[in-house]
């Protein structure tokens, strides 16, 4: 699903440049539940941005769903993001003046789905994250965990190939963290590839594969065998 070979990325800082990713090789197959662990500055966010087509790499190869990503223009990037990727952010990034339902249906709008169809699909996904009754609420009427669940519904609504989650539990307390992680696990159990970036061990522990990143290189890539059991909700 995601194949990365010898990926390099540097950012110009004044006259110098900061070498953030120094040759990453990573292969994520369909249906995997991967977490990228690393402290801040390790390059994990940069990696996610490149994987999420929000940023471009300098060197190396990146294949998404078998398609090489190279010299992507904005328009093409938008189409690929809409088609293959679903994003979950640390700060939820819901549009404040839209209801939960409208937020979830927005990606479908950009995909060109008809209004009626959109509402129906979006409501299905809200139901899936257990927030059907909250469909007409604005984000500021929802709790942090609820907001993140809306964001997850929004990420899933276009039926992407990969869900990219950037510190999905960073702004949540431990109880809600568990419920959000349970949701991600459920999604993964249904066959979705989930790619989580985190600096929390407890979060990484709940994924099936942990990739540790330090100073722009992968230091370890292990299958997580002592996976915590899925809680029954």
């Amino acid at each position: 699903m995601i194949r990365i070979k010898n990926l390099h990325k540097s950012y110009p800082i004044g006259k110098d440049s900061l070498h953030v990713l120094k040759g990453i090789d990573l292969h994520i197959k369909e249906g995997e539940f991967v977490s990228i662990m690393g402290s801040s500055g390790s390059g994990k966010s940069t990696l996610l941005n490149i994987v999420g087509l929000l940023d471009e790499h300098d060197e190396g190869e990146y294949y998404l769903n078998g398609q090489e990503i190279k010299n992507l223009n904005e328009k093409k990037g938008a189409v690929l993001r809409n088609k293959f990727l679903g994003f979950v952010f640390q700060s939820f990034n819901l549009i404040s003046y839209k209801t939960a339902l409208e937020n979830v249906s927005l990606p479908l709008y950009y995909k060109g789905v008809s209004r009626k169809e959109r509402q129906k699909i979006a409501l299905d996904y809200l139901d899936k994250v257990g927030l059907k009754d909250w469909a007409s609420h604005l984000p500021n009427e929802l709790s942090g965990g609820q907001k993140q669940r809306v964001a997850i519904a929004r990420a899933l609504v276009t039926q992407p190939k990969v869900v990219l989650a950037d510190e999905p539990t960073g702004a949540l307390d431990s109880t809600t963290t568990d419920s959000v992680m349970d949701l991600l696990k459920d999604i993964n159990n249904e066959g979705m590839t989930v790619f989580v970036i985190t600096h929390e061990e407890e979060v990484a522990d709940q994924t099936k594969r942990i990739v540790r990143l330090k100073d722009g290189i992968i230091t370890s890539d292990t299958i997580n065998v002592q996976r915590k059991p899925v809680k029954t909700v």
């Binding site: 999420g52 929000l54 328009k75 189409v79 952010f89 003046y97 990606p107 709008y109 276009t158």
Partner: protein, 412 residues
């Protein structure tokens, strides 16, 4: 262009606008004010123009008035300072010599007391031919104007102004056939007329020219004359020619500028219409300038909005909005705001014109007559507005596409 008719597009724009009520209102007011000023000023200046047209409407505009004074140059043995008098003979000669003269009206005027029973008043008395009605249309309230028969018979009839009627008659009293006394002689009232906005004779009683000459012992001497040329005649040239002919008849130096006085109605009206043209130009200038300022205000506010909404734009980009879709939304917002503002401005402008018409456009002496703006002008202004709205929207739209989702979504 399909997206314009897509309800979803408008749903998005409505959402964006509703979220920022204050800025939307402020933005709209800017443009609204511009188009409001344009509509109101254009309508008011049209009203003034109509009013002027009304004032001059009673006159044949290609008219010249000629009167006599004293010479300023000695000529052929005559001393300077000799007074010359226009006569009916001059009128006959001019009528014969100038084929381009349509009407020529000799005027003999005096003033006298007019009495009816115990009521009396001092008024202008004017001896006139029926042709006066052609040069300056008389607005008759009762009866008729003087006719050829009156002239031929030297009839003792008169046509009086409404004010004279009001002074000498009771309210709603029938004046036709009643007798009034002008300087010891009784005249039968055959008509009552009403003065327009401009009158050279004041509240005058018109009596037949021939009667006047006899009663006031004027022989063939007249006070002045009104001459109207045929359509398309160069009235300024004719004025000069007429004066030369008159100077020739009365043995006056052709260079003498004082012997005859003249006034040209076309020139006087030209001054006023020139003023009106200037005012209309000013109206357009002020209106369009205000409109542009308003549209710039919209652009400015949208630019701020784009900055404010960086995050939202970033989110939209991340979930699959292409740059074109983002740009389109900003431009459409701009066009939508200008359109709504424009429509409201036109409605308000129309309402104010209605009020102007109501308060200033009625009554006996209106300041503005029918203050309106042509629909094509409105549509033109509206079109300009939409074009400007689109163009100005392109700037913030471009700024919006510069927003990189990665920067917008970076967590602080």
């Amino acid at each position: 262009m399909k997206f314009i008719f897509d309800s979803d597009t408008w749903q998005e724009i409505y959402g964006g606008i509703r979220k920022n009520k204050t800025r939307t209102v402020i933005t709209i007011i800017g443009v609204l004010w511009g188009i409001f000023l344009l509509v109101t000023l254009l309508g008011a200046s049209r009203g003034l123009e109509n009013n002027f047209k009304n004032i001059f409407g009673d006159f044949a505009t290609n008219s010249v008035f000629v009167w006599s004074q004293r010479t300023e140059l000695p000529f052929k043995g005559f001393q300077k300072g000799r007074s010359v008098r226009l006569t009916t003979n001059d009128v006959e000669i001019l009528k014969r010599e100038y084929k381009e003269i349509k009407f020529i009206a000799p005027r003999s005027q005096s003033n006298s007391a007019i009495t009816r029973g115990f009521k009396t008043g001092n008024f202008n008395i004017s001896g006139d031919l029926p042709v006066l009605d052609k040069v300056q249309k008389k607005d008759l309230v009762y009866g008729r104007f003087l006719n050829e028969n009156d002239i031929k018979l030297k009839a003792k009839v008169c046509v009086i102004e409404l004010e004279i009627y009001e002074q000498l008659f009771d309210k709603n009293e029938e004046p036709i056939g009643e007798m009034v006394t002008i300087g010891n002689i009784s005249y039968k009232v055959v008509g009552v007329y009403k003065n327009g906005n401009i009158s050279f004779d004041g509240s005058a009683a018109y009596i037949p020219f021939t009667t006047f000459q006899q009663v006031f012992n004027r022989a063939n001497r007249i006070s002045w004359m009104m001459i109207t040329a045929n359509e398309g005649v160069d009235i300024l040239q004719m004025e000069q020619d007429l004066l030369l002919t008159l100077k020739n008849i009365h043995k006056v130096d052709p260079e003498d500028k004082k012997a005859f006085g003249s006034a040209n109605l076309a020139v006087e009206i030209g001054k006023v219409t020139g003023f009106l043209t200037g005012m209309q130009f000013l109206t357009w200038f002020v209106g369009i300038a205000t409109l542009i300022a308003g549209v710039f205000a919209i652009g400015n506010i949208l630019l701020i909005t784009v900055k404010e909404r960086t995050k939202e734009i970033g989110i939209r980009r991340a979930i699959g909005a292409s740059p074109i879709e983002i740009r389109r939304q900003v431009v459409l917002e701009s066009v939508f705001l200008t359109t709504v503002a424009g429509m409201l401005g036109i409605i308000f402008g129309g309402f104010v014109l209605y009020l102007l018409d109501y308060f200033l456009g009625s009554g006996p002496d209106p300041t503005l007559v029918n203050p309106t703006v042509n629909i094509p002008i409105i549509l033109f202004a509206f079109l300009i507005l939409i074009v400007l709205g689109t163009l100005i929207g392109l700037i913030p739209a471009y700024m919006a596409t510069l927003v990189k989702p990665i920067d917008a979504l970076r967590d602080e």
